[in-house]
Symmetry: C2
Subunit: 345 residues, 2 copies
Amino acid sequence: MSSSEKNITQIRTEEQFSGIDRLQALMAPAMTRVNTLIRNRMHSDIVLIPTLADYLLSAGGKRLRPLLTLTTSALNGYNPSHGNDDAVLAASIEFMHAATLLHDDVVDDSDMRRGRQAARMVWGNAASVLVGDFLLGQAFSLMVQTNSLPALKALSHAAMVIAEGEVHQLEMRRNIDVSHSTYLTIITAKTASLFAVACQLGPLLTQKPEEVCQAYYTYGLNLGIAFQLVDDVLDYGGKLQTLGKKVGDDFREGKITLPVIIAMGSAKTHTEREFWYRTLALVDQTPEDLDTALELLKHYDALEKTIEYAQEYGGKAIGALASIPDAPLKHHLINVVHGCIHRAV
Amino acid sequence: MSSSEKNITQIRTEEQFSGIDRLQALMAPAMTRVNTLIRNRMHSDIVLIPTLADYLLSAGGKRLRPLLTLTTSALNGYNPSHGNDDAVLAASIEFMHAATLLHDDVVDDSDMRRGRQAARMVWGNAASVLVGDFLLGQAFSLMVQTNSLPALKALSHAAMVIAEGEVHQLEMRRNIDVSHSTYLTIITAKTASLFAVACQLGPLLTQKPEEVCQAYYTYGLNLGIAFQLVDDVLDYGGKLQTLGKKVGDDFREGKITLPVIIAMGSAKTHTEREFWYRTLALVDQTPEDLDTALELLKHYDALEKTIEYAQEYGGKAIGALASIPDAPLKHHLINVVHGCIHRAV
């Protein structure tokens, strides 16, 4: 049994199978306030806006980021009977996330999103770009509504860092020499920084000291990295490669993620290197190539190793909460990390 | 001599030929502070960001919107020796404007911008979308830096309204039945609202009463409408149809602007209506169609009438300043309106 398998077993025996689900159930009343705001704020007389926004936002999605804002607000003593700012900031986070999804799909020429056709396939790229801009504008209007300058600073900075990460990823597209550390820099910016600010909004809203805000930020940042790495693994079917699940979207789009970087770094033959170059740099693929890619990933334990990295970042996320006083919601945040990683194993 | 020609003559005899140029010269020291901020804030280690942003932002452009912010700040007593917030807000306005230009060119499939290839023709649509997002993020980060909540409210609301106007325009694309009033609603949202907020930032920054802020907002809004109508006229070569100037970009892209709406509304024959339908709804054009369009515009005085509307909105802009105490900078703002309209005549 490898050390990573031991870790996984350990997580399982602690019955932390559904940390996200259980937190969702607990925070359901607060999330209702967020959902009301989302519904109201996607409204516009320009019917294409609510139509397209609703198509994306009602397509499911775990609303994990707003859930983290609600949770860290409650954990830091925010009292919803005195206001709705926790929900306003949570809705703002979800709008920012939705805007990046719309723009991402345009940038990546993606056909599918959340199990159905991407919005751009239904209404076109132009609509996705502009409705994304509208949602970003709404995100900013919402956060300004709270009058919390520290929250505004954190969120506007995140908006910039996310876009910077997206451009970095674009620059590295089709480049199979992208390093492990460059990849981590990219996902830290484009994915983890929104998790980080989502978690930091609670202590910022309740005016907690700098070191408390920093602890939540570090928790969110590392959770976000772990989350993205698990997503990368899931795109190749997860460690168990669950039957029937659609796999290989990233591969088909020529996306270079950590599992592939690990497999490419371990490549022993010229044939392997040529395979990755053809399929990911040139994106010149046959239908059989995905099977070859999966075999190579398996041969080099690339999915297991990616999960190990996810666990390492998950550990850092949990470690960041060490200085936070014990409380039931704190345990929920810890279980979110386990639940997030558990998706892949 | 028509009444519009009389107005034009009147403007000329008052020697208000270059209201924008003269204000630019006057505000040059302040604009230097803005340009420094723009240069610093477009920096990123991700080289594609400063490369693309610099390509757009150094391609000229009058920087009229930040100029308005600097002017209304100075006119309302903002003292730059106590801070740089006027320049910070002005840079924020220019970044918001630049972001919309990048996204607009993607949405409209435009080839050219500011006399050279559009950024998307050099670096692709994906880069233009994402660098636009970065500039929008920087715009928000900059405005938050001023700690002025009223300015933040105004700017974030404008970001939303602009995007809403862009989506509205997209919805109306290829629709030759778009009415005069719908067209005004669209340009008010997508163009004039940024002018309005640019002008309102001065009194907001200096904490002037609501009615003063509103006066500047109304000035900017009407100036913005006039500005867009003049742009529409210029795209058909202006009233004088200056020789050698490239005309007809809007026509070739099938953009339905006020001159065309006026000509279509006046169309007397089935042939004319079919012409507009084929060239603007179907965008099925021959090289000779632009000449036909120009003849029809001339036949119905559509450019003159559009200039008359621009003058009407220009008059409203000037009227909005009636309650503002007399001062040299106020006269400059009035001359900006004349200068703006003068571009077309």
